[in-house]
Amino acid sequence: MTGPLRDPAHRVSRRAIVLWLVEALIGFVLLVGGTAVAAAWLSGARWPPDVLSEHAWLLPVAVGVVMAPFVVLEPLLRYAVHRWELSGDVVYARAGWLSRRWVFVPVSRIQTVDRAQGWLERMLGLATVEIRTASYAGSSTISGLDDKVAARLAEDLARRAEELRDDAT
């Protein structure tokens, strides 16, 4: 990827694709279901012009057709974008798929390091590392890490943060 910032060194776990795929599917079902409910309500209502209420069923279909490719696209793009690195006592992480977000967190300013697992992540052997500083804009969440990698990263960060503790918030 071109741009002023180079890629962080490490990819996340390949199993994260499955995680994001399942999440995208759940989101897709909720979205199409929601628009179907809205369409049913529209076709029953009296205020909209007839053109709208008669063709209301098109709404969920259109949403479904437009969004379906993204269900597959999002996990793949995410896998390409999500990367992380810890070097020079700075955590450098990139996330997103269409929009992107790069975060730089110096270890010396870290206040807490959390490792979290949802039920799906647990089944897949994945974990999320949350790094918090005194500001939301200096905080980072690295998701889709292999459980062991996440454990080691969290451990390293916590230990190093203890050593470097610099109370300049």
């Binding site: 910032l5 012009p49 020079g88 790069w102 730089f104 500001s135 939301y136 804009a137 200096g138 300049a168």
Partner: protein, 538 residues
């Protein structure tokens, strides 16, 4: 109002034996009660809540001697309660902690470690001032903005002494090392004057003796400048709030006042038959907006004074209720200058400090009310520090993006409405789309960022333009964001994470190269390892 005496020379105002004069270390400040004079305030404060029950008792008893007896018992009971509450509440400073003990029914001791006290707020209502009392509030930076300790009330001298004592403890270990050497060198040696010569910015006599030295006035806002108040748009809704409050009050007391629902309906009908009258009232209310707003503003910001004392900035203001807020200087990370559209026309601006862990920052962090810009920047430079670099502009792509964002949504609405045949909606949307053009251009003009080696600054916004200046040391991390449209335009948004104020300050729509190199310029050691190798062509 009061010229506060230097902390060391303050007698322990009317405290019971055991509380010696506050020593410099402040280790003992024995158990003490609040000033007994609050007993004069408490019944007055309780009065409104007592009136109704008392009237009820009297009415129910048919004004018989017995009912008077009960009412008297009620009053006596509340006085006894106030006395008991006063007698059983003590506070003391011991072992580095402030302990507030209440032993009325159970026994509760609230312990506040002194190093957690971030600010002390002394205020006095008119009633308090008549009796020479003041209320002391402690800000411990606890979440939720709730004050953890309130001493209501102390004698004014005692409150001053206690404040000096509580704050002195905080400063002692702090001063050395946190001041940046460049910072001191860069401060202007001479005092600055605002162009019209009304307000004065007093220069530091000598940087060395500043903290712990005698209090000194940084800025005193002349009364003539209260005229600028209505420009800020603050309190403009005061007339409506007053009318609504009056209506609400009448409604609440409708039974006592003999107002029935029929009467209300009749008044409503009577008024709706006279549209001229309604319009006149509306005109009067609207015309009263700047006047009433200005008066409310003047009430709150009367004689606004900013002082430096014991390593704290103390902002004092108010006509009836004087309020003094102390902000620990060591915790001040920067400041924010904000002005609305009209204020910008008039060249005036408001000033806030960005403080770590400050609850209710909007009202507590205020360093200056609406004042002319040169004056405000002078005070900010003096109180916190200047920014000595001009703002850098953002690339033309940012202007295109501002325009698209301000115009496109309304244009889309207009087209959709036209297709649906809603002409009025289409017209309104079209007008808004056109109005979006100057707004977008102004938003683009506002964009800018700067770094002078000590502090960074970012500016954005149009209807409320805000420029933030933050010291480099306060940055705890960076976030760089790029949405899909930004990526296509070659722009990105850089957010400096700061553990004060709103937490993050955005450089909106900087060029890709520009934004990243700004972050790399401020904290090279954090970003340098991650920059792309330079392309050979440059």
């Amino acid at each position: 109002m009061t010229g506060p005496p230097p902390p060391a020379a303050v007698p322990p105002g009317g405290s019971p034996p055991g509380s010696g004069a506050p020593e410099p270390e402040g280790e003992q400040f024995g158990a003490a009660r609040l000033s007994p004079r609050v007993l004069l305030i408490d019944p007055i404060r309780l009065l409104p809540s007592l009136v109704l029950p008392l009237a009820g008792v009297l009415l129910a008893g048919g004004f018989s001697p017995a009912s008077f007896g009960w009412a008297a018992a009620g009053v006596a009971g509340s006085v006894v309660y106030a006395v008991l509450r006063w007698a059983t509440f003590t506070y003391r400073i011991a072992g580095g902690r402030l302990e507030l003990t209440r032993a009325l029914v159970g026994r509760s001791i609230r312990t506040i470690p002194l190093e957690r006290i971030r600010g002390v707020d002394v205020s006095a209502s008119p009633l308090h001032r008549v009796l020479g009392l003041a209320v002391l509030r402690l800000d411990t930076g606890a979440t939720g903005g709730e004050q953890e300790g309130v001493l209501d009330a102390l004698t004014a001298e005692r409150a001053e002494a206690l404040r000096a004592l509580l704050l002195a403890r905080r400063v002692l270990p702090a001063v050395a090392g946190t001041e940046h050497p460049q910072d001191t060198a860069q401060r202007s040696p001479e005092g600055q004057r605002s162009p019209d010569g009304q307000g004065t910015v007093v220069a530091a006599a000598g940087e060395g003796g500043e903290d712990g030295g005698p209090p000194r006035v940084l800025a005193r806002v002349p009364r003539a400048w209260l005229m600028y108040g209505p420009l800020s748009g603050a309190y403009l809704l005061t007339p409506f709030a007053l009318v609504a409050g009056a209506v609400g009050l009448v409604w609440q007391w409708r039974r006592e006042l003999g107002v029935t629902e029929q009467a209300a309906v009749r008044v409503f009908e009577w008024a709706s038959d006279r549209p001229g009258l309604l319009i006149a009232v509306a005109v009067v209310l609207v015309a009263a907006m700047p006047v009433a707003g200005g008066m409310t503003y003047a009430l709150f910001n009367w004689d606004f004074t900013l002082r430096v004392r014991d390593g704290h900035l103390v902002a004092e203001r108010g006509l009836f209720t004087r309020r003094a807020v102390s902000l620990e200087r060591r915790r001040i990370r920067g400041y924010e200058l904000a002005d609305g559209l009209i204020e910008r026309r008039a060249g005036v601006v408001r000033l806030w400090a960005l403080v770590t862990g400050l609850g209710d920052a909007k009202s507590r962090g205020q360093l200056l009310p609406v004042t002319p810009r040169p004056f405000a920047t002078g005070v900010a430079a003096e109180a916190v520090g200047p920014i000595r670099a001009p703002l850098r502009r953002h690339p033309p792509a940012a202007r295109r993006r501002r325009l698209v964002r301000a115009v496109a949504p309304w244009l889309a609405v207009a087209v959709a409405a036209l297709l649906a045949g809603w002409n009025l909606v289409a017209l309104v949307a079209l007008v808004l789309a056109v109005a979006g053009v100057p707004l977008a251009l102004d938003r683009y003009r506002s964009l800018g960022h700067a770094y002078d080696g000590v502090r960074l600054s970012v500016r954005s916004g149009s209807l409320r333009r805000s420029q933030v200046v933050v010291e480099r040391q306060a940055v705890v991390g960076w976030t760089v964001r790029q949405t899909l449209p930004q990526r296509m335009a070659g722009l990105l948004t850089v957010v400096a994470g700061v553990g004060a104020g709103s937490g993050g300050y955005e450089v909106v729509d900087a060029g890709e190269e520009q934004g990243v190199s700004f972050a790399a310029e401020v904290t090279p050691e954090w970003l340098a390892p991650f920059l792309s190798p330079r392309p050979p062509a440059g």
